[in-house]
Amino acid sequence: MRWITIKTLRAALTMWLVVTFVFFVLRATGDPAAILLPDDIDQATLEFYREKWGLTAPLWEQYVSYWKALFHGDFGISFRNNMDAFALVWERVPKTALLGGTALLIALVIGMPLGILAALYKDSWLDRVIMTTAVFGFSMPNFFLGILLILIFSLQLRMLPSSGSGTAAHLIMPALTLGTGFAAQIARYTRSSMIEVLIRPYMRTARSKGAGPMRRLAQHALPNASVPVVTILGFKVGELLGWAVVTETVFAWPGIGRLLTHSVAVRDLAVVQCIMIILALTMVFSNMIVDLIYGWLDPRVRVGAGTASK
C-alpha cells in the first residue's frame, strides 16, 4: 500500500536524521572514545575501543560502523557506574511508560468529555467556565503545578508521598501534573473539532432519520470529531516526553527523564546518546501508530495515499 510505504519512508528519514545528528555532534565535540568511555580508563582500553568502534578509519567508514554498533545495541558505557548505557536506560523505560501512559489517560478522560460538553453548550456559561479553566490549565508550567501539589498534598495535608515510585499513591501527583496541561489542550481541540462536526449535514441527516441525541453523539459526531484530536495527540507525544523530564525531576520519579537530567548535568554522554536514539524511535513509532489509527478512523486517508497535510 502506497500510504504505508510513504509513512515508513518518512519514519526512516527521521531516524536517519537523528542518528546522523548525534553522530556528527559527538564527533564535533572531540574524540568519541574519550567521551563515551570513563575518564579514568587506561590507554590500552581506549585504543581497544577506538579500534572496536573503528575510530581510526575514515569518516564514512566510521559512519557505517556507527550504524552497525547501534543495531547491536552498543551505545557505549556509562562512566558513572560502568554499566552498559543501553541496559541502564532500558531499566528506566517501564517507569516513564507508566507515568506517560497514565498522564495521557488522565488527559483523555478529563479533556474529551469537557471539550464535548463545551461544544454542545457552545457560548453558554458552562462553555465559558470550561474554556477559561482550560486556558489556566495549559498556561500552568508543569514544574510549578508539581511544586504546588507537593506543598498542598504532601507538606500540608500529608496525604500523598512527594517523591519516589513505590506504590500507586506515588503515581497520583506526577501523573496529574503531567496530565492536566494536556487535558486542557485536548479539551480545546475536542471542542473546536466537535463544533465543526455538529454543523455538518450528516448530523442533520442522522436527526431526521430519528437517531436519539446519545446515538447521534456516539455514532456520528464523535468518530468524526476525534480524527483531528488523534492527529494532535500524535504531535503532542514529543511534548509529553519533554514535560515528563521535568515532572520526573520534580517528583524524583526514577524514569528516563530523571536519568537524562542527571546524565546531562554530569555529561554522561553515552547515556544521553542512548536516550536520544530510543526517544527518536519512540517518536517515530508513536507517529506511525497515530497514522494507523487515523487511517482506521477516517478511511479517506487510506485512499488519499498520504496527501493529507498537517
Partner: protein, 296 residues
Amino acid sequence: MTALPDTAPRATGPSRVLGKLSHVPVMVLAAMVFLIVMLGVTFFAQVIQPYDFDYIDLMNRMKPPAPLEGFTWAHPLGTDTLGRDLLSRLLVGAQTSMALSLLGTVLGAVIGIALGFVAAHKGRLWDEAIMALVDFQAAMPWFIVALAVLAFMGNSMVVFLALMALFGWEGYARITRGLVIAAREQGYALAVRGLGAKPRWIYIRHVLPNIAGPLLVQLTINFPNTILFETSLSFLGLGIRPPMTSLGQMLGEGRDYLISAWWLAVVPGAVIFFTTLSMSILGDWLRAKLDPSLEG
C-alpha cells in the same frame, strides 16, 4: 501639513484609545497590563530594584513576604537563605527570563519567516529540503534535543540562546510558506509584479504586511512556550545558572526550601504562570479578532 476635514465627529488621541479599550474584555485588559508591567521590568529592573540582586544580608535570612507573621518592610517579598532580597532577585530574574525569551522568539520568527519565504519562492528542492527540516523539528521534542546539545557542547550563553532561537521556528516557516504561496497569486502581488518589482521587494514590502496577522498569532503561541523552555531548563539547573538568575533558576533553588520557606518557590512560579497565562489570553483574543472564522 494641514489636517483633512473629518466629516464624522470622531474622538482622537488618548480618548480614542480609551474608547477602543472599553470594548476589550476585562481578562484581556488585565493580561495586557500584566505584560506591560513585565516589559517595564525587562527594561528597568536595575532602576526599580531596592537592593542588588546578589546583596547578602545575613541578619535577615528567610524572612517571609509581607502579610505573613515576622516580615519586615525592608524586604516586602521576604528573603532567601542568604538574606538576599526576594523582590530584587525576582525583578532581575524576570528581566533575564523575559529578555532571553523575547530574543529567542524574535530570532526564531526571523529564521522561520525567512526559510518560509525561501521555500515558497525557490520551490522544488529548496522547498522539499526546508519542509523536511520542518517535519524533523516538529517530530523531535526540542526540549530533549536541547538537553542533549547542552550535554555535548557544554553550557554556554551562546549555545543556550541558539537553542532558544531554534525552538519553534518551524511554526513560522510552515505558516509563512503556506501564506506566501497563497498570497503570491492574489491581485496585489500580481499587480506589483506587473509593475516590474523585484521578488524580494514584493515579499518584504507587500506580502509580509498582508500575512502579518497570522504570524503575530503564531508569536503569541510561541512566546509562552519559549519562556517555559527557558524556565524549565533553568529550573533543572541546566540553563541559566548562578551567579546569574532567572525565574526558573529561582524556582529550582527555592524547591529545596519548600518546608521552611515556600515563598521562595511559589513567588517566581506565580510570575511565570501569570506571564504565560497573560500571553495565552492575549493570543486567544487576537486570534479571534484577526480571524473570526477560527473557533476555540
